[in-house]
């Protein structure tokens, strides 16, 4: 078994593809830096990420795949699931080797897996758009906390910037310990210390809140209760569409 080790970046994955062709040796497994190597292997090679190699592979892919497929490739990589790296690697290799586009070959297991993964990642990005709840701070900044299972903040933030272009907001991914701060012009990636109470709990403390914030939260909770029809109570459907893992930061569920 041949193992490639790479630095877990997307450029690293592209470099691995470049190296595989130049070494004429294709991996059976990809291992991210810092992860344990499998118990048995014949050959382990280290891939050193190289912008130029990655760029050449990307340009080659641009000739082989449509724009939608390329964006799907990038989005699916955000799942950050270790076992998925080799699937994506095989997908890209097939794309390079095949004389025709492989995008719609849904009888190929790697194409099916890639399509499924991108659907899951985009689904999670959509759930971020659904379930972020902002709290208004006294200085007018809106603060929202979320814990998505995939690293999708980067593809969800443009939606919030487009929608709330005149507001200042901070959207924070607790699980990965970073967020985006939008100051009314640009969104920048920020990391804040865990000691801050609102980063630790996901909730602004009363003295940090805008004076109307508590009333608004109350109104929303009241509305949430009032809009349900008791005769049709259906908790299973509720949990199905609004997974419990999001409830922690949902205003109406507190």
């Amino acid at each position: 078994m041949t193992v490639f080790q790479f630095d877990s970046t997307f450029e690293g994955l592209l470099t691995a593809l470049f190296d595989a062709y130049s070494w004429r040796c294709f991996p059976d497994m990809l291992v991210r830096e810092g992860e344990v190597l499998p118990m048995f292997y014949d050959d382990c090679r280290e891939v050193i990420t190289d912008e130029e190699k990655a760029g050449r592979v990307w340009r080659a892919l641009e000739k082989k795949l449509s724009r939608e497929a390329l964006s799907a490739v990038v989005a699916s990589f955000l799942c950050e699931i270790a076992d998925y790296d080799i699937v994506l690697f095989r997908y890209l290799r097939k794309a390079v080797d095949s004389p025709v586009s492989i995008e719609t070959d849904f009888s190929d297991p790697d194409v099916v897996e890639m399509t499924r993964m991108v659907r899951r990642v985009r689904g999670e990005a959509h759930r971020v758009k659904q379930f972020v709840r902002f709290q208004k701070a006294a200085d007018g900044t809106y603060f929202g906390m979320i814990e998505p299972i995939y690293n999708v903040l980067a593809i969800a933030v443009p939606h919030f910037v487009d929608r709330f272009s005149t507001m200042k907001f901070l959207l924070y991914d607790k699980r990965r310990g970073f967020g985006y701060y939008y100051d009314g012009k640009d969104a920048t990636r920020v990391t804040l210390p865990e000691e801050l109470s609102h980063i630790a709990t996901g909730r602004l403390s009363p003295d940090m809140m805008d004076e109307e914030e508590l009333l608004m939260q109350d109104m929303w909770r009241t509305y949430f209760k009032a809009i349900a029809i008791k005769e049709r109570s259906n908790p299973r459907k509720q949990r199905q569409d609004m997974p419990v893992r999001f409830w922690k930061y949902l205003t109406e569920k507190q």
Binding site: S107, L215, Y223, A228, S233
Partner: protein, 424 residues
């Protein structure tokens, strides 16, 4: 805004909750950089929450007032009901909408109202809310406005400039029953405002061909709602009406609302223990078949079978009535025919016609694609050793295989409760 506003919001949300529609789909509008807030995403829309009844909360669904001069038997807000009444001022409602929207609670506003004084007076106030949101607060999110039956064409035309979607509810699918349950209404009072909206949209389309910058008019079209189970109509009649409505150029959605017995004292209404939720779900499935699966209303529920089966879904029901149409060869059949296989949805049908260009598909491929083989296996061939087809064994056998044994529901779970998807 005060505690008093909160109290009013509670009353008016409770009055609005029986309206089903809540979707925020149908328009794509990018945000305006540095000018107000809001965009609309189109596609499936965004549901921000799901209430305890499992219905999605996408828009702030509320009434401006629940005071009403009409006395419709099926309506909670009828004049003769003794319920708390409230009225929100335009400023209050606009304020709540903006504050909720900024906190990412909602996609926009779905505003309806009881009729006070006269239809025009009421409609004018609804339009005021939309106008203030759009022009003063530069709100660029979704607005769904109810058109009040009997309102003048001028007001509907004004409303259409601010709203993304407008709707007039038919409520009762037959004119005779409607007049019986709501003596002050008839089909004319419903179809007239629908006609105004349609006319507005079509004229706007022509205008926009000539002048690119003419603002859009009700870009997400119109929708309507029918109450199911409050009057004796069969599913056949309901689906025929829906299909006729979908044939008109601006109708995007017909919603079905299982009748919740709200006014139990009224003898014109049937006595129901619980709302007909399964029937409602089957109607939605039938609606889907008409809109996305190329079925006609008569194929789903015709004169020989005027009601949908509650036990199985309408697509399987059609397949069992037509064993001669099967098995379908997934490697050769048209897209239309593949769509008709039970267990194959729009998504898998598209994947199948794409994938079969590369190689012959086997049942293994189909399973990977996401076809529900448990159902589909009675209706397909894919060049392999096949399992019994519905045409060889009897439809009754297939029905038995697919309906029993009933899966044991977990404790405390109502197995009659169907899951409903209100997304578009």
């Amino acid at each position: 805004m005060t505690e008093e506003t909160l109290r009013k919001l509670k009353i008016l949300a409770e009055s609005a909750k029986y309206d089903v529609s809540c979707s925020s789909s149908g328009t794509v509008r990018r945000g305006r950089k540095g000018d107000g807030v809001g965009n609309t995403v189109g596609g499936v829309g965004i549901c921000h929450s799901f209430a305890d009844d499992g219905r999605c909360i996408s828009l702030l669904k509320v009434m401006l007032t629940n005071v009403c001069m009409y006395d419709c038997a099926y309506c909670i807000n009828r004049r003769s009901n003794d319920i708390p009444r409230a009225t929100l001022s335009v400023t209050e409602l606009v304020g709540i909408t903006m504050e909720f929207y900024r906190r990412n609670y909602i996609e926009g506003l779905f505003l309806s109202s009881g009729v006070v004084r006269n239809p025009d007076y009421t409609m004018e106030r609804l339009v005021r809310v939309a106008q203030d949101l759009r022009t003063i607060h530069r709100f660029n999110g979704y607005i769904h406005l109810k058109s009040i039956p009997g309102a003048s064409q001028e007001l509907v035309n004004l409303a259409g400039r601010f709203a993304d979607r407008m709707s007039v509810n038919i409520e009762i699918p037959d004119e005779g029953s409607l007049k019986y349950l709501a003596p002050e209404k008839d089909f004319k009072s419903v179809y007239e405002p629908m006609g105004y909206i349609r006319q507005g949209v079509l004229e706007n389309k022509e205008d926009r061909k000539r002048l690119r910058h003419v603002p859009r008019f009700v870009p997400a079209g119109q929708s309507t709602q029918m109450i199911v189970g409050a009057s004796p109509e069969r599913d056949r009649d309901i689906l025929r009406l829906s299909s006729a409505l979908y044939a008109t150029p601006t109708m995007r959605r017909v919603y079905y609302s299982g009748y919740v017995p709200v006014n139990t004292y009224d003898e014109r209404l049937p006595m129901l223990k619980q709302p007909p939720l399964v029937r409602e779900n089957r109607l939605y499935q039938a609606d889907w078949l008409m809109r996305f699966y190329h079925f006609t209303a008569d194929e789903i529920a015709g004169d020989s079978h005027p009601d949908l089966e509650l036990e199985i879904d309408p697509k399987l029901s059609w397949a069992l009535r037509h064993p001669e149409a099967f098995p379908v060869d997934v490697n050769r059949a048209d897209y239309e025919m593949i769509l008709r296989i039970p267990g194959v949805g729009v998504k898998s049908a598209t994947l199948i016609v794409n994938a079969r260009r590369f190689r012959r598909l086997t049942s293994d491929h189909l399973r990977k694609i996401g076809v529900v083989m448990k159902r589909a296996r009675y209706f397909i061939t894919c060049g392999e050793l096949e399992s019994a087809c519905v045409a060889d064994v009897s439809p009754e056998y297939v029905r038995r295989q697919l309906t029993e044994p009933p899966r044991k529901a977990p404790k405390g779970d109502n197995s009659l409760q169907m899951t409903l998807d209100f997304g578009e």
